[in-house]
């Protein structure tokens, strides 16, 4: 039993609802509360991750002293309480979310400092963190749905928070519509599973599931709805609108929430269904979704003029890499020989890409925010010559752009090479497409770099200077991690990624961690 698990949800939740009250006392006190709550949550998250890596899967049963009480002795072996199950994969997602939260809160302290309505902003930001942490740690399907909705509502409200002549509201409205419909489909699927197996617990359902027609419908509904939330093709149309119209710090958090949905797709595929479903078909469906996302995303990104819209299309394309890497893992699930040969490496690549993507994409959006903060425009044709005045921002941009294009020694390369190598054995064509997409990504970021930072100093930006220190610290943290992960990929893979991939493959381990000897 770990005391850090409830803190992960309780701390940001209390902070969120305290924020409007504390906001009445003054700006400094409210900002200090935001920093304290953020630091507390991140500390709890880090301690929890450490504990999971040392001791293995942690079960937290709500309303019980002892995790063995998760299944009451007179319930006939059915878990009734709501459980949080934190295995290595969940721990990995918690770590990703915690890092991004740290950077975003620091960044927001400056970037939002001259805006109105900051009390509500921080309240929603912390609510969103509650949703994300809940989604990646819960072991209960309905509980997952509730956290999904908390995350969606807070995310939509934040995306629309700066009304911006109605533009942001437009993006927020799309996000709210898509996530609500996705959530309702997910709820239908939960109902179908509950009707058959009389339980909501993922591990319990996994232990009794068989592939009836209804379970198959539920699987399709779950994967569709979560892919919709994650923003993969063909349900990607909301991403450019919402990502480009939301404030930059919020876009960075929206990316983490799309990662949480992606995590849930594979939690459903690996831990809930496992080998009971037709893994080859489902795996190929996910791989094809991934290839389409990669290719359509990057080709839509090339002609964009709005810097944030361009980056948003790139996030569709990057999600494709994770879908391909983990999809290959799904396709060879149950086949030990192929899994050992390349499946595990492909999954490690996909999982490693999750944290790498969150880091460099978050950084890119924060940089776009920094440029918009100083220059007031996001049109690439109007920007130029910023390299003279925003040297740090330019440096961070180079790091992030090279990382997203997969150039060594940055972290994007580390995870992409894992995907290329292993997917090549599975099917060489997929690997070739992935490399071509990577080159197109580089081309598009060279264009952005050139039109934002290069060239002579423009007269209308003569007054522009470097962004304030907290914004630089937030961005610098992400940049440092990008370089660190790129220089020592072995360390990260051995310490975090491999246990996470193994946790996904080991379905019986997941079940027995909850159900015990039963």
């Amino acid at each position: 039993m770990s005391q850090y698990v409830p803190l992960l949800v309780a701390l940001p939740l209390i902070a969120a609802f305290a924020m409007p009250l504390v906001g009445m006392l003054g700006k400094t006190i409210r900002n200090s509360l935001a920093i304290i709550a953020m630091a507390g949550t991140v500390t709890a998250a880090l301690l929890l991750v450490y504990e999971v890596l040392v001791n293995g899967t942690i079960i937290y049963a709500f309303g019980a002293f002892d995790p063995s009480l998760a299944i009451p002795f007179d319930s006939g072996g059915v878990p009734i309480r709501i459980l949080f199950v934190i295995d290595a994969m969940s721990a990995f997602m918690v770590l990703t979310a915690a890092i991004m939260m740290f950077a975003v809160v620091l960044y927001s302290l400056s970037s939002e400092s001259e805006q109105t309505g900051q009390d509500g902003y921080y309240a929603l930001l912390f609510l969103m963190m509650v949703g994300i942490f809940g989604m990646v740690t819960t072991g209960d399907l309905f509980n997952f749905f509730v956290f999904l909705e908390i995350n969606s509502l807070a995310g939509a409200a934040l995306a629309a928070y700066r009304i911006n002549k109605g533009l942001s509201v437009e993006g927020g409205l799309k996000y709210a519509f898509i996530s609500t419909i996705a959530g309702l489909f997910f709820l239908f699927a939960i109902g179908m599973l509950y009707g058959q197996y009389n339980s909501l617990n993922i591990a319990y359902i996994a232990s009794v599931i068989d592939l009836t027609g209804l379970s198959l419908v539920a699987l399709v509904l779950m994967i569709t709805s979560l892919a919709m939330k994650a923003g993969s093709v063909p349900m990607h149309f909301w991403t450019p609108d919402t990502y480009s119209s939301a404030p930059s710090s919020i876009t960075a958090i929206l990316i983490v929430s799309s990662m949480a949905s992606l995590y849930a797709i594979f939690r459903v595929a690996f831990s809930l269904y496992g080998v009971t479903m037709n893994v080859v078909t489902i795996g190929w469906i996910i791989i094809i979704l991934g290839i389409l996302s990669m290719f359509i995303g990057v080709s839509m990104a090339l002609p964009q003029k709005d810097v944030k819209r361009l980056m948003a299309y790139h996030s569709v394309s990057q999600i494709g890499y994770m879908l391909v890497g983990l999809g290959v893992g799904v396709a060879v699930l149950g086949d030990t020989q192929m899994m050992n040969e390349f499946g595990l490496v492909a999954m490690e690549g996909g999982i490693f890409h999750i944290i790498n993507y969150a880091l460099y994409k978050g950084l890119l959006f924060l940089i776009a925010g920094a440029v918009i903060y100083r220059c007031g425009t996001r049109n690439l044709n109007e920007l130029g010559g910023l390299g003279h005045s925003m040297k740090w921002t330019m440096g961070f941009f180079i790091i992030a752009a090279l990382a997203i294009a997969g150039i060594p020694p940055f972290n994007g390369f580390a995870s992409k090479i894992l995907i290329y190598e292993s997917v090549f054995i599975f099917n060489p064509y997929i690997s070739v497409i992935a490399m071509v997409v990577s080159i197109m990504t580089l081309a598009s970021f060279v264009k952005v770099f050139h039109s934002m930072f290069m060239g002579p100093k423009l007269p209308q930006y003569a007054e522009v200077k470097e962004v304030p220190l907290p914004m630089l610290i937030g961005m610098g943290l992400l940049a440092a991690l990008i370089i660190l992960f790129g220089l020592f990929p072995d360390l990260v893979v051995n310490l975090l990624i491999e246990p996470a991939a193994l946790a996904f493959i080991d379905q019986s381990g997941y079940i027995s961690s909850v159900m015990g000897g039963i």
């Binding site: 509730v146 909705e149 509201v169 409205l173 519509f177 239908f188 939960i190 109902g191 609108d241």
Partner: protein, 114 residues
Amino acid sequence: MLTQLPYLAVVLIAGIGIATILLKKNLIKMIMGLGVLTGSANLFLVTLGYRDGGIAPIYTSAPEGVMVLSTVQAMTVTNIVIGFATTALLLAFAIMLYRKYGSVETGDIRRLRE
């Protein structure tokens, strides 16, 4: 056949809801469609939880019979609250858009695409 009737209703209502969202151009009507879809999800859950002859698990002076775990009913109540919050948020967005654009037709709300 009669016991299957509620499921048929669920499919019908969900179909009406999805069709409204997809076909209508008016934002308010789309939000109404979403409300209808939420309603069908609630009906689905409640129907699933019904057990013939079961009694509610209230132990004080309970009559003889099989008690039914009321998980589904709890889920339905939760979903009603979530649906309420979503509708309120979406309607607030619609108000904002009407103030800025002077219309709630989706054809007029496309400034992001330009």
